[in-house]
């Protein structure tokens, strides 16, 4: 697959369709893959990588890239196409300046899941018939592929590319997923248990802003948390309140816009399950205002910019679940 991508990218560079390629670059190890822009065939041959460990959603980079001279080729996994579409919808990406090739999605492997099995000194990871063969400084280790699946791929919502100019590999379908399982589990806890759960999680936050800065929905020119004029700016949580505040407001600002790409939880250095906050909003929106998938199209009205005269009252919160 990687070879097919490189081949096609080189063709599109050569025939002048595009002048750049947005992809990924290999690093020092097998897993430290960095999003990168390639300009020549040589660079692609030397450094381009797209394998089981390539997780990053590159759609956010296209905001800037689509405003540069010439057209750029973007290789997008199914989940990335939702982010891309949402950004087109919000006039952030200039669609005409991007040539989109839909590429197959995951499930991707997350190195952290391997390291969590107390496997260290990892030199290489190979997928051999759904068993991972891991070469380490301390010898060879194996583990089942599925145990190393990235959190963002665990409840894949769709294998369908919602936008593309051409495909490499086949297009898939929107999947039935049980992605709200954990949200439901929390909803069924008591308020005290939920409070304890989130305090435990959010108190780990170091406010590195990785979740925000990687998020394809967080594309504000200037985030309210960075803007002294907003009145709520802060750099570090000086009190537990500010940990809550940051994550509540961030989730609220992306509610109805979050495509559930899972990047926030993937990049969190403290492993906070931030995607649960977004999924809570998605679940509520789906159940209260009708199924809505952000990024599925570029024309629908976002649920928070819309209403129905017979919407439920907020008191519904009191009627559901457990306090």
């Amino acid at each position: 697959m990687q070879e097919a991508m490189i081949k096609r990218a080189k063709e599109l560079l050569a025939d002048g369709t595009v002048n750049r390629v947005m992809g990924w670059k290999r690093g020092e190890f097998s897993y430290d893959i960095t999003p990168a822009v390639f300009e020549t065939a040589e660079e692609l041959d030397a450094e381009f990588v797209c394998d089981d460990l390539t997780q990053a959603n590159v759609s956010k980079y296209l905001i800037k890239e689509s405003r540069k001279e010439g057209k750029i080729l973007a290789l997008l996994k199914p989940c990335d196409t939702y982010s891309f579409n949402q950004l087109v919808k919000e006039h952030r990406i200039i669609r005409e300046n991007v040539y989109v090739i839909g590429i197959p999605g995951g499930p991707k492997i997350d190195i952290e899941k391997i390291k969590a099995k107390e496997i260290s000194g990892i030199l290489s990871v190979k997928n051999e018939d759904y068993t991972l063969k891991i070469e380490t400084i301390y010898g060879t280790e194996t583990m089942p592929y599925y145990e190393a699946i990235s959190g963002k791929c665990e409840n894949c919502k769709s294998k369908k590319h919602v936008v593309f100019d051409e495909l490499i590999g086949e297009d898939g379908d929107v999947l039935e997923s049980n992605r709200f399982e954990m949200v439901e589990k929390l909803e069924n806890m008591t308020a005290q248990e939920r409070y304890d759960f989130w305090r435990d999680q959010l108190s780990k936050c170091i406010r590195c802003n990785a979740c925000r800065n990687v998020c394809p929905a967080c594309t504000c020119e200037n985030c309210v948390f960075d803007n002294p004029k907003s009145g709520i700016d802060n750099k570090a949580a000086a009190d537990s309140f500010e940990e809550n505040m940051f994550h509540i407001i961030r989730a609220f600002h992306v509610a109805g816009r979050c495509t559930d790409c899972g990047e926030c939880s993937r990049v969190c250095p403290q492993n906070i399950p931030l995607h649960l906050l977004n999924r809570k909003f998605i679940k509520d929106i789906n159940s209260l205002y009708g199924e809505y998938q952000a990024g599925a199209d570029t024309t629908s009205r976002a649920p928070l910019n819309d209403y129905s005269t017979d919407d439920c009252e907020p008191s519904i919160v009191h009627e559901r679940g457990v306090e």
Partner: protein
């Protein structure tokens, strides 16, 4: 739950200018009683209330926040309160998800004619918040009154 008789909660009420603020005025005109814990902030429309304001109130020491607007369909700006309803439903649901007590927040539709309702709503809300006691789950310790 035990009610602490000495606990006087701080209650912030956001009221839309056209209906609820007028409703609050009417309950005054009719000399209807509700606790002085309730302090009203006038906003043009309930849809002006940003979730940030609600969180800010809790941060700075509020024990309960109530938002009042025109009845759905009666918005002076025709649709503002419909947006409010969605936003606030989701916000309150999220606060609930984080384990914040449900009764600390409320949304009520009070028309300019419903002075009695305004007073009744405020009486009930203050009583509910008193039952909960001081806001501890969504407070900023730095702002706690010693």
């Amino acid at each position: 739950m035990q009610v602490n008789e000495n606990f006087e909660p701080v209650i912030v009420a956001f009221c839309c200018n056209w209906c609820s603020y007028a409703g609050a005025d009417l309950s005054g005109t009719n000399r209807l009683n509700y606790p002085s814990n309730v302090k009203i902030i006038r906003v043009p429309c309930s849809c002006r209330v940003n979730p940030m304001f609600i969180l800010r109130a809790f941060q700075k020491g509020a024990d309960g926040v109530i938002l009042c607007g025109c009845h759905p369909g009666d918005c002076h700006y025709t649709s503002g309160n419909y947006f409010t309803r969605r936003r606030i439903t989701l916000l309150y649901s999220m606060l609930d998800f984080l384990g914040i007590e449900r009764n600390r927040t409320r949304l009520e539709w009070v028309s300019a004619a419903e002075g009695a309702k305004f007073a009744a709503v405020m009486n009930q809300f203050v009583e509910d918040v008193k039952k909960l006691g001081p806001n501890r789950r969504l407070e900023d310790l730095r702002c706690r009154k010693q």
